[in-house]
Symmetry: C2
Subunit: 350 residues, 2 copies
Amino acid sequence: MSGAPRIAIDAMGGDEGLAVMLDGVALARRQNTALRFLLVGDEAQIRAGLATHPNLAAASDIVAASEVIAGTDKPSAALRRIKTSSMGLAITAVKAGNADAAVSSGNTGALMAMAKITLRTLKGIDRPALAALLPTLGDNDLVMLDLGANTECDARNLVEFAVMGAAYARTVNGLTQPRVRLLNIGEEELKGTSEVKAAAAMLRAAPNLALCFDGYIEADRLGRGDVDVVVSDGFTGNIALKSMEGTARMITDLLRRAFTSSLRSKAGFVLSRPAFHMLGTHLDPNNHNGAVFLGLNGIVVKSHGGANPAGVAHAIGVAAKLVRDDIGRRIADDLTGIGAQTSATPAAAQ
Amino acid sequence: MSGAPRIAIDAMGGDEGLAVMLDGVALARRQNTALRFLLVGDEAQIRAGLATHPNLAAASDIVAASEVIAGTDKPSAALRRIKTSSMGLAITAVKAGNADAAVSSGNTGALMAMAKITLRTLKGIDRPALAALLPTLGDNDLVMLDLGANTECDARNLVEFAVMGAAYARTVNGLTQPRVRLLNIGEEELKGTSEVKAAAAMLRAAPNLALCFDGYIEADRLGRGDVDVVVSDGFTGNIALKSMEGTARMITDLLRRAFTSSLRSKAGFVLSRPAFHMLGTHLDPNNHNGAVFLGLNGIVVKSHGGANPAGVAHAIGVAAKLVRDDIGRRIADDLTGIGAQTSATPAAAQ
């Protein structure tokens, strides 16, 4: 697509709905004045909301949608409303060529189902995967996939995830040869499920990949910043991601309890506030917001349901980078190398 | 076994070796004066070490072992030294009836292999599982299993893990009807692998279990303290455990960096030290030390390789509770109910 990148926004999705989404889109527009938007949702409400965002109004068109997908809707129920819901019509705009990418803070399962049905998978990709950015102790965020799109995966799926994750890391983190590892319960070759071992063999054997395959990684090393992409099936990836989220929340809760346990601790907390702020900024999910369904004929970015305007703007920034780098073509190019290789060695996939 | 419980100690295992182990055993003995010990390892070194622990010396016998299993030894290599190593002879003492339980801080893979070969699985148990205690925001530690003994599991394995984990929670946490959940990527019935769904069906259908099966739990809720036992295959459990460990370590590192970033933060840290101490005590792995291989004809407790004396004493305390409650008989009793049920409904296991 030529000209200014145009992002379709599911303006009604997310826990807080329209106001936070519009604030986020307006912020994204201030950060990148080249962007244009399709705002999809209740036309009257969007028009009213734009009254306080003249800058955004000038860069936006509205697409009217009469329905909103709820967080509790099952994917099957959501699919019946592709043509009427704000989420469905945002994706449809990408399919029709009216937008270069879609961004939604709505129901993940519904978004995935609609994106898959509407956009279809890229040639050479068996299944799309959900990839996200995680904070680390290093300079770059970690790209992790699959985070739940595919409960069970074979070795070939994992290899495709590695290729797609590397393409994503090159785009969002500006890397040339991302370091990729498979998530496993040990670093020795003997460890892991048969699928993981077969995927490792295929990645070791594949020539000319635009990535550096470094073997396995254990889950306690994900935050160290010495790897760029971590690949797993969607069940394992989801468990790892949520274990990390839950632990971070538990420690935050314990810290809060500890710091309110005495006057002295409270005073210490006040003095330490800048330090906590620094920690909070580093771990704040809004600063890493924007999960992507990789492997589709079109770009769909999932913003966290609870994202604030800065988080929504970050997700839109991710979408804009993926448009700029033409992530679909990049993945298709990368697959040509590995396609010939892996179909020539079917035994390695067993 | 009648009389005072006797614990066989692999005195040479662990990162710090003999001195820490003896300090830990001596502490356990002070905490529970009824305990007696078999100290297995280099006889001269143990004798020398006991010189500073007269109280422990009076309660201990020494079993000489000429070899030590290293942390880097493969299980297969370790198995060849069952009759000569401190780890192997500690387990052998349980098998021979000379000890009621064995405790080792050594190589987990080697310990598991030796324990399985020497003690064999309980009648009715297909595979032993590794269970550990995790800190939560609630009153009790969470029992979690399997943590890596079985990479791939079928539904029947998961059901057995549920029964064993519940028996363990009743023993260590003094519960009568532990709340048990299966680790999954959602709480809805449709979510998860076929094995997890089949295990849930079997647990729902089984009558008269000494546990309350509550369905699924997502990994971000493990620390909330509203569930007593969480069951998964060993691959998933290991990933979840290590994700939690890695996140806790990353946040600790970030906190340290933040608090040394300015004079003001440093002053805040000094004032806040009691709060940090409280947090540290709650999360300190030594206060939750003692993973157990459940499902064997004998009790084997794995102490963390880096455990301090308090950690070693905690692991010994876990072993003593398991001896007191005759955990093997408890599991065997619990299995009688579920055995009849699940063999009568093979379709549920598909």
